[in-house]
Amino acid sequence: MSGPAGFRALTDGEIRTRRDRLTDFLDAWGDLRVDDSGGGGNRRLLEFVLEAPGGSLPIEVKATYREYYGRRRDGGWDIAKYHYEYLDVARSKRFAYHLHDVGMRTLVAHAHCDDATDLQDEEGTHRFRAVELDLREAHEEFMRLWASDTGPDCRTLRPLEIPRRLLGANVAQPRFG
């Protein structure tokens, strides 16, 4: 398994350092729970669940960052996919950056945007174009959305178009998640 462009393989120590640094980084934003699972096997999940603003205040946003890693033959870890999710509880909006297989194409970076207040959005979860991001970049974007007056605007995004031949025969574009 080889990592996507922009990501390099991590050793056990590096992935632990990454987990701890991201924990420190995200902790400033709200109540944080971190789950590091599977490090003793061949598949590992780093999950960060942030509820903000935290403390005694009602939850306004929830951000979930999941990074999935596969063990390399040399013992290191390659990122296999990620799901960076932002849910604006107060404004009923969801924005996400994903990297995973889409149909027959491997590791496609894309975004999701759902606006529960937009009645014209009848198709549900669409995919939109996006570039590969580091967790910190996604988090900074999510926090900017939270601090802004309006939150995510799905209408500004460009649809992700994948040739039908590269999609599985039973998969209809663009309804899958």
Partner: protein, 85 residues
């Protein structure tokens, strides 16, 4: 960086909101706004940049700056849990 003896705990409770401006944090911490901006630029204080001159600082970062008690992150490590994807 925690400010011991900061007299701002009550004030922070009186103004319960998700984000604070640098000038509000400066007042709470009895520091200058430029010091707060320096903290942000040095990466010592979390903040979101809304425009070239506009920053917002999350509540928990303010609580930490003031040396007040805040919930610690919960970290669970389970190397033997089966992960599928």
């Amino acid at each position: 960086m925690a400010l011991a003896d900061a007299p701002s705990a009550e004030l922070l409770e009186l103004v319960p909101k998700a984000f604070y401006s640098p000038s509000e944090v400066a007042e709470l911490a009895s520091l200058s706004s430029s010091t707060i901006l320096n903290y942000i630029h040095e990466g010592r204080l979390a903040a979101v940049r809304l425009s070239e001159r506009t920053y917002r600082i999350p509540r928990k970062a303010v609580i930490r700056l003031l040396g007040l008690e805040a919930p610690a992150p919960i970290v669970i490590e389970d190397p033997f849990r089966l992960v599928s994807f």
